[in-house]
């Protein structure tokens, strides 16, 4: 698999304790949160600093050894599933927050910093790091950057790519590359930072990330609107956007999801409702009050049965607890859960919701739909049992139809989960062959030995 002399060299770099080779440990680095077959690597290393990291990459380049970097292994597209001949580089020990600069509003962090840890540290200073992927309690900044992770606040605040000001990373040969800066503006060189975000470890291995911070909003108002038809709810989403209101969060839950959440958490949700919209506006207190009124009026005009405003933080927390419970509640229903994230232009949300219901019926499978309606990023969640081959085949067909539907509406295969292995075969449908060829040429030029997370995105 991997020559002993290379293992010895790796051990020399990181120390005996931080080189793992036993089969048991390899099994634990063979998967991530995507529903895909596991692949065991030949070794895993846990470097502590940039020097060690650089030496590992150079060694792998010299010996043609594939490298897959892994943070918390929570991604949903197979981006951290390694090669059998390759090694896994774990970022767990490179988890320092190097600097939080209040005057210039940026943070410099190592890739292994947990997203929620950074968000909490920044909040203590009255600052705000908005990207909040569902896995933020465990996901790492390195992983968020590599996958261009999104979250509930994408609609108003954007996603990870909107907060990466600069990066320092090792290229495939182990050279140290600096890109971007600590300044708000930066017009030198190629926008390599932009290229690196979402590159899933195929173009370089991150050492440091400079993140933009913003002032925390002064006020916020959360609301829940209840609907008797899902069409009315999705029309409301389109209505709010076209009224030029941009809520921080605008989430939808369908009836299937509502029932699952209520059975699971007894939060007091109306189980007979066809859909719920969970809405939060934030910003200056006067603007928040005005927008909340407008949103309320709009919801009622579009046919909401009722709309309730959170009266205090405790009520607000309950609303978002219900949303956060969605995936958990659905996950309890069946052994296998396939979480999709095909995304459409937001005005097409009503069409997409209808199409998803149709697809569920056509393939006779359970699909719970919830998600970031406000930015067009729904999460059709398919519940199945992977051991049931016949049903899983229908699931795969349904997924392909979801992809086709989203693309036909001018959408994308993935709003926030990335391409990885799971969507690589479908990328051509979205981008066309020449853009895949372009990407492959780019990779071949930067990584001639194809050691950086091979197989992801471009399929080779």
């Amino acid at each position: 698999m991997i020559h002993k002399s290379i293992l010895d060299a790796l051990q020399k770099i990181v120390g005996k304790q931080h080189l793992l080779t036993q089969k048991e440990d390899m099994l634990t680095y063979s998967y991530d949160a995507a529903v895909l077959d596991p692949v065991m690597p030949a070794a895993a290393v846990i470097p502590e600093n940039a020097t060690q990291l650089g030496e590992i990459i150079a060694l792998c380049h010299e010996n043609h050894i594939p490298v897959t970097v892994r943070g918390s292994g929570t991604n949903l597209s197979g981006g951290t599933i390694p090669r059998t001949s390759g090694i896994v580089v774990l970022t767990g020990r490179m988890n320092r927050i190097i600097e939080i600069n209040e005057a210039d509003m940026y943070a410099v962090v190592e890739p292994g910093v947990v997203t929620a840890t950074l968000a909490a540290e920044v909040e203590k200073l009255g600052l705000f790091y908005p990207p909040d992927p569902g896995s933020m309690a465990v996901s790492t900044i390195g992983g968020n950057v590599a996958e261009n992770a999104g979250g509930l606040r994408g609609l108003k605040y954007g996603v990870t790519k909107d907060y990466v000001m600069g990066l320092q990373f090792f290229d495939a040969k182990g050279n140290y590359i600096k890109t971007g800066s600590r300044t708000v503006k930066c017009a030198t060189g190629y926008n390599i930072t932009g290229l690196m975000v979402g590159s899933e470890g195929t173009l370089g291995v991150l050492d440091q990330v400079i993140l933009k911070l913003i002032p925390a909003p002064k006020a916020r108002q959360a609301m829940v609107a209840v609907y008797d038809t899902i069409e009315q709810a999705s029309e409301t989403v389109a209505g709010i956007i076209s009224a030029r209101i941009v809520p921080a969060t605008l989430e939808i839950l369908d009836n299937f999801t509502i029932r699952a959440v209520e059975d699971f958490s007894k939060a007091g949700l109306p189980k007979d409702a066809a859909a719920l919209l969970l809405i939060e506006v934030d910003g200056h207190p006067a603007v928040v009050a005005e927008e909340a009124e407008q949103v309320k009026a709009l919801c009622l005009k579009m046919g909401a049965r009722s709309i309730d405003r959170a009266k205090d933080d405790a009520q607000r927390d309950r609303i978002w607890a219900a949303r956060r419970a969605a995936l958990s509640a659905l996950a309890q229903l069946k052994p296998t859960l396939v979480l999709e994230d095909a995304t459409v232009p937001r005005s097409r949300i009503p069409d997409m919701v209808r199409a998803l219901q149709e697809i569920g019926r056509k393939y006779k499978i359970d699909i719970g739909t919830f998600g970031h309606a406000g930015d067009g990023n729904l999460h059709p969640t398919i519940l199945t049992d992977r051991r049931n081959k016949e049903e899983f085949h229908r699931v795969e067909q349904a997924i392909e139809e979801i992809f086709d539907t989203a693309l036909a509406m001018g959408g994308t295969l993935s709003g926030e989960h990335g391409t990885g292995i799971a969507k690589a075969p479908f990328l051509e449908k979205e981008a066309g062959y020449s853009s895949i060829l372009f990407s492959r040429q780019l990779r071949a030029a930067l990584d001639p030995r194809n050691i950086l997370n091979p197989g992801k995105i471009t399929g080779v």
Binding site: L27, T28, Y31, D32, A33, R93, S135
Partner: protein
């Protein structure tokens, strides 16, 4: 190894529970061990994958999986936070049993579990003699927690400040035929538990005082055994089942409304593991175990939810020279909060005793004890325990309270080593001591 296929078949018993893990990885955010090591094999997701690996028969021997499976505090933080509701603790306990049965217990464990623990009479006698002679081997360390440290250098004890065995275990203070008191309403059976009986008899005495104050009738059948969790944690399901049989028979003799314990771990074991892990129960036994589990309650929960308590008035200090209420911080035992959802009641007991409660950061973070984890992985256990100690100290409290004698041991060890003057008390001790002060 030829038998690996057979082992795979045995692990298949867990398949329906194993498949519920969707590998989301959320357990990484709460696992006290993973926080220290950041290795996937140390967190629930990794261990569940390893068991799936055994089931798929991909290993040549079971030792690697067994070793990793035992690196776990069984604190249940993962299960309490699992989106998919994977019953992690039950799976790990059953898996340890399957592996131990397949591999055979080590001779030392066989001696402890089969010859001693599973024979309550013999165990009590041995511990009693050990208690009389322990002064020869240890020296008391003059600290607020009342711990001892080893006189002779022992690799097993290292520099632990362990709680000395009581010279008189609790059961020795009771009549030979057991203890019975009449009350005016509810009747409680009291399950003592090994650690309280042999190391913290004061907790049991305090519990009796409190129950009697509230006019609860109490029965304590003689000859009680261990709840079985030490055997189970080492995979010895046979000894566990024998202990359950023994205890079940004892508590059948007289009627009672509630089975109370002052030990979080015993409560959780009786409620969660007796009905699920008992080996091949008959329908009758199964039904008895379910009924008993339903009737079992933590003593704090019993007092607050069933008996009802008011704040105790401070009669002891009419002259007003009282230095003010004790500042108490409360540590949530994993087996109370995460396993049984009991968190508010012990705090109410402490407040009712007139103490000022001051929350620590991470009050529900595991103390790092984890039963035998503390013995086999003392360094890791201490690192986790040190975080707990620092959080306790930062509150500026005079006393730390917790509803589990195992946590009390670990916290005493941590505070003792650091030379802290903070006392470690069970909520029942705090409450009983207020009752005492109020009695002229």
């Amino acid at each position: 190894m030829a038998g690996m296929k057979e082992l795979a078949t045995l692990v298949k018993e867990l398949e329906e529970q194993l498949v519920t893990c969707i590998r989301c990885g959320m357990c990484q955010s709460v696992c006290p061990l993973f926080e220290q090591t950041r290795k996937e094999a140390d967190v629930a997701r990794g261990k569940l994958a390893l068991l799936t690996g055994l089931m798929d028969n991909i290993f040549t021997d079971p030792d690697g999986v067994n070793e990793r499976l035992n690196r776990c505090l069984l604190c249940g933080s993962c299960a309490a936070n699992c989106p998919s509701g994977v019953n992690v603790v039950e799976i790990f306990i059953k898996a340890r049993a399957i592996l131990a049965e397949y591999k055979g217990l080590s001779p030392a464990k066989k001696l402890i579990f089969r010859q001693l623990l599973a024979n309550p009479g013999r165990f009590d006698a041995m511990v009693e003699w050990a208690g009389r002679f322990q002064g020869l081997f240890t020296k008391p360390s003059a600290d607020a927690q009342g711990t001892s440290c080893a006189r002779l250098i022992s690799p097993l004890l290292a520099n632990r400040h362990f709680m000395p065995l009581s010279t008189t275990p609790f059961h020795k203070t009771l009549p030979k035929k057991g203890y019975t008191s009449t009350g005016s309403g509810l009747r409680a059976a009291f399950f003592t538990g090994c650690l309280i009986d042999k190391i913290f008899p004061n907790v049991a005495k305090a519990s009796l005082k409190v129950l009697s104050h509230h006019k609860v009738g109490v029965i304590i059948p003689p000859g009680q055994g261990c709840c079985g969790i030490p055997s189970l944690a080492s995979g010895d399901r046979d000894s566990f089942t024998r202990l359950v049989d023994h205890n079940l028979a004892l508590f059948e003799k007289e009627p009672f409304d509630v089975l109370v314990t002052a030990c979080a771990t015993c409560t959780s074991t009786i409620k969660k593991l007796w009905p699920t892990v008992y080996k091949n129960p008959s329908d009758v036994i199964q039904q008895k175990l379910r009924v008993l589990a339903e009737k079992t309650m933590d003593i704090n929960q019993f007092l607050v939810d069933r008996v009802g308590i008011d704040s105790l008035k401070n009669f002891s200090d009419p002259a007003g020279s009282d230095p003010g209420p004790d500042i108490v911080t409360y540590h949530d035992p994993c087996h109370l909060k995460k396993s049984l959802g009991v968190a508010e009641q012990p705090r109410q007991v402490i407040s009712a005793a007139g103490c000022q409660l001051k929350e620590m950061t991470g009050s529900d973070k595991c103390c790092g004890m984890g039963g035998s984890f503390n013995i086999y992985h003392y360094d890791l256990s201490s690192t986790i325990g040190t975080i707990k100690r620092e959080n306790i100290e930062k509150t500026g409290c005079t006393t730390v309270s917790t509803g589990c004698p195992a946590c009390m041991m670990q916290i005493s060890d941590m505070l003792g080593k650091a030379g802290s003057s903070i006392k470690v008390r069970h909520p029942m001790e705090i409450y009983a001591s207020r009752l005492e002060k109020n009695t002229p």
